[in-house]
């Protein structure tokens, strides 16, 4: 790990972190999904939570956005317990995109993105020229300006996801939490959406997301949180975190980790039970399949 990167993450973790969870226990109906977990979200980075199905990664993200209330512990936003803040004030600081949201049939892109201004509006001040400006910039930044007049339900999955991210952008927050932003997208559209997330990060935002695809998570994150069974197994830069041992421990996945031929991150090559060349795979037992 380079010295520069260590200071980056550590200074973020210690001084400038805006969002953190302190000893949270979260569950549904008595069953604890997350038990006494601490985590700090470094500011200005893309943090991705990964882990096997049911490990509590979405639960953690939803707790960080106060969609779920922890039974014990607290989520701290800018030094204050998020449970004690007004919902509206939280929405001015923290943008949230749930998994696979659905817009009413016929709602136009511009009207959907305009909903992102809601936390900044009131009964008397429902719309202003500032709002219009922010919405136009959000549309432009996500590359959906020319779709502005179209109904959201007429768009492709990838375009639709851009539009939803545009709405979260119009909210004007520095913190963006995205729950599986690439769900139901093919690889090309997933890359497209993650490039967009990268642009938002370059523009100075802190992004936290949940991703299923480990290689996409590795490629696009500065900080990985690896979860298993409701607790954090490892956290750090993908280069330091992603190892064959960790993948086995977290996912029970046999894989080999190589250098990404096009990037500076590791690349995970899963092995599986068949199709791998014998001898190529460290630790693979020779299986005799005769008669």
């Amino acid at each position: 790990m380079s010295a520069e990167r260590i200071t980056d993450i550590e200074s973020a973790a210690q001084g400038h972190a805006r969002l953190a969870a302190r000893g949270i226990t979260v569950g549904y109906g008595g069953r604890a999904v997350i038990d006494n977990l601490d985590v700090t979200i470094p500011s200005g980075l893309i943090t991705t939570i990964i882990g096997p199905n049911g490990c509590g990664k979405s639960t953690l993200l939803r707790t960080l956005t106060r969609l779920l209330k922890p039974a014990k512990g607290a989520v701290v936003l800018d030094g204050e317990d998020i449970a004690g803040l007004r919902t509206r004030d939280v929405a001015k600081k923290l943008g949230l995109l749930p998994q696979a949201p659905v817009a009413p049939e016929g709602l136009t892109v511009a009207d959907l993105v305009a909903k992102g201004r809601h936390p900044h509006q009131s009964w008397l001040r429902q719309w202003s020229s500032d709002d219009a400006g922010v919405v136009e910039r959000a549309l432009a930044m996500t590359g959906v300006s020319d779709l502005a007049g179209r109904p959201v339900d007429s768009l492709s999955g990838g375009q639709r996801q851009r539009v939803w991210i545009s709405m979260a952008l119009a909210q004007g927050t520095d913190l963006l939490l995205l729950d599986e932003p690439t769900t139901y997208l093919d690889l090309a559209h997933a890359i497209d959406v993650l490039d967009l997330v990268d642009d938002l990060h370059e523009a100075g935002r802190t992004v936290v997301m949940v991703l299923h695809d480990l290689n996409l998570a590795t490629r696009y994150s500065d900080n990985l949180i690896v979860m298993r069974a409701g607790s954090i197994l490892a956290q750090g830069h993908p280069r330091d975190v992603i190892t064959a041992e960790l993948l086995d421990e977290a996912f029970g996945l046999r894989a080999t980790v190589i250098d990404d031929p096009v990037g500076d991150r590791p690349l995970i090559v899963p092995i599986g039970r068949t199709h791998a060349r014998l001898g190529q795979v460290p630790g693979r037992k020779l299986q005799v399949r005769l008669g």
Partner: protein, 353 residues
Amino acid sequence: MSGTDVKRSVAPGVRLGQVSFVWRPWLVSVTLLLAAATFLVFCLSIGVGDFPIGLSRVIATILGGGERVDEFVIMDLRMPRALAGLIVGVALGVSGALTQSIARNPLASPDILGITGGAGAVAVFLVTVSGGTAAAVVSAVGLSAAALAGGLGTGLLVYFLAWRRGIDGFRLILIGISVSAVMEAITTWLLATADIKDVARAQAWLVGSLEGRSWGDVRVALWCTLVLLVVVSCVAFQFKPMHLGDEVAAGLGVRYSMVRAVLLLCAVLLAAVAVSAAGPVPFVALVAPQAAMRLARCPTPPMAASGLVGALLLTGADLVARTALPVTLPVGVVTAAIGGPFLVYLLVRANLR
């Protein structure tokens, strides 16, 4: 695409001093046209009767400049009935728009929240069961008030049964349908075992009618509706993001459980007011929001336009019931005759898509 095209898609704002809102010319025009049409039908309806009064004289009298005779006929005799139609229509239209928005389902209406069924069952019970207590209740509070209590009770029962860490649209609809079915079964059983004279009275109430409304009936309904509409318009702003789902709304800073609880309660109360004023007039609450959405070209039911369509539909149906048909029919028959086919049209259209 150029910047001007983007600007056109992002709705412009209007500013009046401290107040600013989105400028949607089409929605505003449709709403104003609906208001004008409703007023026109309202005045026509007042003019019709054994002593016909021309439209201009009706309008002059309403505005306070009519003759003594007209004033007596209009303000004392006909106004309560016409106003009752207007209030019931608005209440049902807004109640339907709220229910459909909360359930995120175009087929939801206060009819399936148990209000109508509960009110009907109580009313029929009081009419058909001859006996000291029932008669005493009716003479003490009146049939409408007793039915109102029944509707309200059933509506709240559905509400609490549907409550499970918040209100879920599908659960609400399923429980509402189940409870309504029980209420309808009770009603049918009561009618089947009752004396034939009582059945006729009960039927007349069940169809929904504006006959014989007095200023006393109307005043209560008017004030209740106005108070509820004020509450709805205050909370409606917070409700807007909830069309995108609970989690998105929460992310946008809306306390969705509370907003939904308040608005659903308003929907139940509005429907109950309507039922107590005119009986269970069918289909208005279902049809009005859907028609308003299509007229105003909105993706979600617009509140004001839904109320106006409801008022127009009810007032118009009452006018048709009294004039165009050979026999005078209760208004509920006509709204059902219009509402039924429209529901079928909605379903067929959804199938074809």
